[in-house]
């Protein structure tokens, strides 16, 4: 017989909590057929949820998994799944807090670069799924008269991401993704990475000193002159022509506008 309406309010709350915590008892009202037990039956859902989300994390963070080994990664991912289940049904968006989780995960405290490798992987996947747009043709920039260049602003390509790391996150990410050994990489050397997708393939580059500051300023809507000025202050040796050719080659921007005063704040 149906129970009163109030008894079913929030049923799924308890069902969901018991899915993520195997120490909790079965949710009220969950039974097997014909008086059978439901322990192993409910465990099928627990297993489906955990294994599918651990698999999703392994798909999203293959470089981290390779660095810590599969068994360790899967055990650790179970903790993360229970702590931070996805908020969206679009599973390739899962794992936004995984880098921070790695930073705080005690057994990995000797490998502080892993969090930034995870950030590289999230940026890589975001670039992979970002909106399509043609990259800025070099001719467009070349056509801007020299006297207007300082006032030129750039529209970031939807795929463009910059990761600044206190560690050699770009070299470690690339070596792990390409299944190369980490020989010769000194983890404590800071690196900046530029992730783009000018056409269909995601590209990852290590940026020379200062370039990340310059590109971040352009992405934030600063003019070419402002971005260059800010960067020169912090990085006296900043190689501006090298940064420009890198950003064009990478397709970091999709458009540029000379001499137009903008009141809008580009995100």
């Amino acid at each position: 017989m149906p129970r009163s309406d109030t008894s079913t309010a929030g049923e799924q709350h308890y069902f969901g909590a018991a899915l993520l915590n195997p120490d909790l008892p079965l949710p009220e009202g969950i039974v097997g057929p014909h008086g059978k037990k439901a322990q192993k039956r409910f465990a099928v859902y627990r297993n489906n949820v955990t294994v599918s989300l651990v698999n999703a994390l392994a798909d999203i963070f293959p470089a981290v998994q390779r660095l810590v080994c599969e068994g360790f990664f899967r055990d650790m991912a179970r903790f993360y799944v229970a702590k931070e289940p996805p908020v969206s049904a679009v599973i390739f968006e899962y794992g936004g807090g995984f880098a921070t989780f790695l930073e705080d995960f005690e057994p990995l405290s000797r490998y502080p670069y892993l969090a930034d490798v995870a950030r590289m992987e999230k940026a890589w996947l975001a670039a992979f799924h970002a909106a399509d747009a043609p990259p800025l043709p070099p001719d467009t920039l070349a056509a801007i008269p020299a006297e207007q260049l300082a006032d030129t602003r750039f529209t970031p390509h939807p795929a463009t991401r910059i990761i600044r790391s206190r560690f050699a996150a770009v070299s470690i990410f690339s070596a792990s993704r390409e299944q190369r050994p980490l020989d010769g990489i000194r983890p404590a050397i800071a690196e900046d990475g530029l992730i783009t997708r000018p056409f269909d393939a995601v590209e990852v580059r290590q940026l020379p000193p200062g370039a990340a500051s310059f590109l971040s300023a352009l992405i934030a809507g600063k003019t070419f002159g402002e971005a260059a000025g800010l960067t020169m202050t912090g990085y006296p040796d900043f190689d501006l022509p090298a940064a420009i050719s890198a950003m064009l080659e990478a397709g970091a921007f999709s458009d540029c506008f000379a001499g137009q005063p903008t009141t809008e704040q580009t995100p």
């Binding site: 017989m1 057929p33 192993k40 039956r41 409910f42 049904a89 970002a130």
Partner: protein, 306 residues
Amino acid sequence: MTQSAPTSPIVAASRFPDGPLPPRAGAGLKTEHIDAILADDYRIGFLEVHAENYMGDGGPPHRGLEAIRAEFPLSVHGVGLSIGSESGINPDHLERLARVVERYEPAMVSEHLAWSSHDAGYFNDLLPVPYNDQTLNRVVAHIGQIQDRLKRPILLENPSTYVAFEQTTMSETDFIREIAQKSGCGLLLDVNNVFVSATNHGWKPLHYLRDFPLELVEEIHLAGHAEDTDDEGDPLLIDAHDRPVSDAVWKLYEIVISQAGALPTLVEWDNDVPEWPVLRREARLADAILARLGPTSLLGSRHAAE
């Protein structure tokens, strides 16, 4: 232009080939199969995608699906709308589904009788609901909301389940029939789910099919299942989608087709995905059954008459 000679509106309206899913075998689309499918002399009847995999704004997934959609009928199958959810349909997720549907103009859109999201998050699994008036009203309201937004009817799929609820007051088949009648949705009959749930709950699959409103079924799903045991040591089947369709499910499928007529039939294989020829072999088995039993079926004339 306000006045024009009568022309076919279809030609102008669609970026893609138009038309319904054919009453043939289709396959669940896997990225790694796209080139093989496009190059194959065997033309699969249609392809089906999980909507959530195409909810990104752009990139390679869309390039692959555009190439497929240019040549084949498409079905969009949602796995994340959480139609049975107590916390309602997520409007953002519904918008994202609508964008996929607008982008690819699929012949069919379907979802599950299940829930997967709650306040705590998204569980990435199809979770069961009790069959009673309260759930019925909730599910009907949610399907109405989805169909209003998509401006088309959807198909609802029968679930595979492992547990039962004390709160259940009606049979699964009555529950599904009533949802369809009240919401106007069509039905997707997953024959593997029938077999899995029947085994797990001690129903007879043939009784389930006898009670199921076959006249509302517009698509069939077939898949492989794994075998485990329950607390009492009896068989507990898992809807694993990781192997060929079992002989028992093929037999049930033959019964469905001989009664309902030829229907678009999807072979699903989502885990341990094999090379395309293995999936194609499963599709050809379904094609052969459709060709053999479809024309002589009890309800066989209904599709031709439409």
